[in-house]
């Protein structure tokens, strides 16, 4: 069943251009299963989003067995956790197979096992939520208590991702052993960075779920340490968003220059930025807990400072991307300061979708800096601003990059092509998503600044005048949010049509068909220092930073803990 690549790994020294031309049949099937699972979640999640829009505007009522917060929980879990995670693994599996060669039988077997474990956990968690045993939202803050099996299912999801991650790492280690002294291809390097960060980050949530939530939910212990459980959650919760973002960055660093017909701007800086994400994306979770007691101001501010550090690799990325645009444009003969803008391949949906993703990340990133600015967080914490923020971070830069990847990854995996009709549909889809998101997220940001809460079913709060301000004006209006949501749902359904066509309907691709390729740009690693790929240095510094940022606050929470909380089922 498993095809071994005829081609050996890269022979030449110290370069990292792509090797094997295609992924083998086994990896294709595995990646397609991941994508299929991801888009099933996407369908359910966006439908839940539409239901929320209607409910917040009192346009529909749900049947008695379903409430707003169940719908909200499913929306968050399916889109933020499931769509992203499974799509990411599809992308990483395909790219690792393409750049390091086909998987051996063990790697292939464990990748499948990981997929099924993660998928089983996801399906089980969804059943627990829909049957009303886990209306705790995807952050599952204690002492709201879901059924013990809900936490077990979450643990399975995480364990599944670990299994796939270690399978991919094993594939990489084998390549390194076969190519001593050679820097790995940039795609593989970035994959390993992302997975290293993910594995370390998950330790927090696994510790909380296994040692705190599960014994408590099954009644083996009576109470839970609430503040500790929150802190362990956010140890995981912030790097989680970088786990979504980094694969999008991989596409921006590696796919975009290929589409522009140029090389990666700087191999060493690309690698360095990913390493900085390993260092600074984890010891920052307290910036989600700035307005709560139990953590001294000093430690909050220290983690705020570290959060500011994690902006730096994004500044580097912004420069690399613009430089890639400008260099490619000038190679094509662009003149003047901004002549290169006109040389960008705007009619190539694979590029345009990624470009729009990047544009959305500008206000997205700026909003993130505001959120973490210590006391400024009081203005926006748990308001609709935050909802707007992650819809223009994970909901557009990440999700739209994954859509843009889908337009060629699915044809690449199914051996079909992207016809003109589907390409036009894809343009309509991307543009409608952008327009819908512009309306929805702008309204969310503005309403948040006016104090409208997040995660809340519609409420008029006894007609208090403050609430009237949430229905007045254009962007400061819940109806504008709804309008955006409806456009987004239309776009999401169009995407489902496109995915369906690419999977089953489009004609088989012919040789040399650009849309049926996996575009990875060349990256000149000849000037890249070798110590960048000494993982133990970077993981060592990451651990040191985590110990610096977390040892004292967590020790305090354990040693000086108040009496714990028993569970509450408020639904």
């Amino acid at each position: 069943m498993i095809l071994h690549s005829e081609r050996g790994p890269l022979a030449g020294r110290r370069t990292s251009s792509a090797v094997a031309a295609t992924a083998s049949a086994s990896e294709r099937k595995l990646a397609l299963w991941n994508i299929g699972f991801a888009y099933t979640a996407f369908l359910i999640g966006t439908l839940c989003g539409l239901i929320q829009v209607f409910m917040r505007n009192e346009m529909i009522e749900l049947p008695a067995w379903l409430d707003y917060y169940q719908v909200l929980t499913v929306h968050g879990v399916t889109l933020a956790l499931v769509y992203t995670t499974f799509f990411i693994y599809a992308f990483l599996i395909t790219g690792m197979s393409r750049s390091l060669g086909s998987f051996g039988p063990k790697v292939a077997r464990w990748s499948w096992i990981g997929f099924f474990v993660a998928a089983a956990g996801t399906v089980w968690a969804t059943i627990e939520i829909l049957s009303g045993r886990a209306s705790v939202l995807y952050t599952f803050y204690a002492p709201l208590k879901a059924s013990g099996w809900f936490y077990v299912s979450l643990a399975l999801l995480i364990i599944g991702t670990w299994i796939i991650s270690f399978a991919l790492i094993a594939h990489y280690v084998k390549w390194r052993k076969a190519n001593p002294g050679v820097l790995s291809p940039l795609f593989a390097f970035m994959t390993i960075s992302t997975l290293a960060m993910w594995i370390i980050a998950c330790l927090g949530v696994v510790a909380a779920v296994v040692f705190m939530y599960i014994p408590w939910a099954f009644g083996w212990v009576d109470t839970i340490n609430v503040e500790l459980s929150r802190t362990l959650f956010w140890f995981f919760g912030h790097p989680l968003v970088y786990f979504w973002l980094l694969p999008a960055y991989m596409a921006w660093y590696l796919v975009v220059p290929k589409l522009l017909g140029t090389k990666v701007f700087s191999d060493s800086l690309a690698r360095l930025s990913f390493l900085l994400f390993i260092l600074f994306s984890i010891p920052v979770g307290l910036h989600h807990q700035l307005t709560e007691p139990g953590v001294a101001d000093f430690w909050k501010f220290l983690q705020v400072t570290l959060t500011f550090m994690v902006v730096i690799p994004t500044l580097m990325t912004a420069f690399s991307l613009f430089a890639t645009f400008e260099i490619s444009g000038r190679q094509k003969g662009a003149k003047g300061l901004f002549g290169w803008v006109g040389k960008l391949p705007w009619n190539d949906i694979r590029f345009t979708s990624l470009f729009i993703s990047m544009v959305f990340f500008i206000p997205g990133g700026a909003g993130g800096i505001i959120n973490t600015s210590f006391q400024l967080n009081e203005l926006v914490h748990n308001t609709l601003w935050v909802v707007g923020h992650f819809h223009i971070t994970v909901g557009t830069p990440v999700a739209m990059t994954f859509m843009g990847i889908s337009f060629w990854l699915i044809p690449y995996l199914t051996g079909r092509t992207l016809t003109k009709t589907t390409k036009n549909l894809a343009f309509v889809q991307i543009i409608s998503w952008s327009v819908g998101m512009l309306f929805m997220s702008t309204a969310q940001h503005v309403l948040g600044l006016l104090g409208a809460p997040r995660r809340t079913q519609h409420s008029n709060y006894s007609d208090h005048p403050t609430v009237l301000g949430w229905f007045d004006g254009f962007f400061s209006n819940t109806s504008t949010l709804a309008l955006g949501g409806i456009i987004l749902f239309f776009s999401a359904m169009l995407l489902m049509v496109i995915v369906f066509r690419l999977w089953l309907i489009e004609p088989r691709s012919e040789k040399g068909d650009l849309y049926a390729e996996f575009p990875i740009a060349e990256s000149d690693a000849s000037a890249t220092p070798r110590w960048l790929e000494n993982w133990w240095i970077w993981i060592g510094i990451a651990v040191a930073l985590i110990l610096l940022a977390y040892t004292f606050p967590i020790t305090h929470m354990i040693q000086d803990a108040p009496p714990g909380s028993k569970g509450f089922i408020n639904w």
């Binding site: 430089a323 645009f325 400008e326 260099i327 300061l337 909003g367 800096i369 505001i370 400024l376």
Partner: protein
């Protein structure tokens, strides 16, 4: 193209102006929200 050989010597004036514009946008957003916070 001489730029192709070494991107570090490339003409990146447009890039510099673009990123600085992004930086200024970020600063404007930040100070706007900061002003709102201080006014509360």
């Amino acid at each position: 193209m001489k730029n192709k050989k070494n991107p570090h010597e490339a003409d990146l004036r447009g890039t510099l102006i673009s990123v600085l514009t992004v930086g200024i946008l970020i600063a404007v957003m930040w100070f706007a929200v900061y002003a709102m916070y201080v006014a509360l």
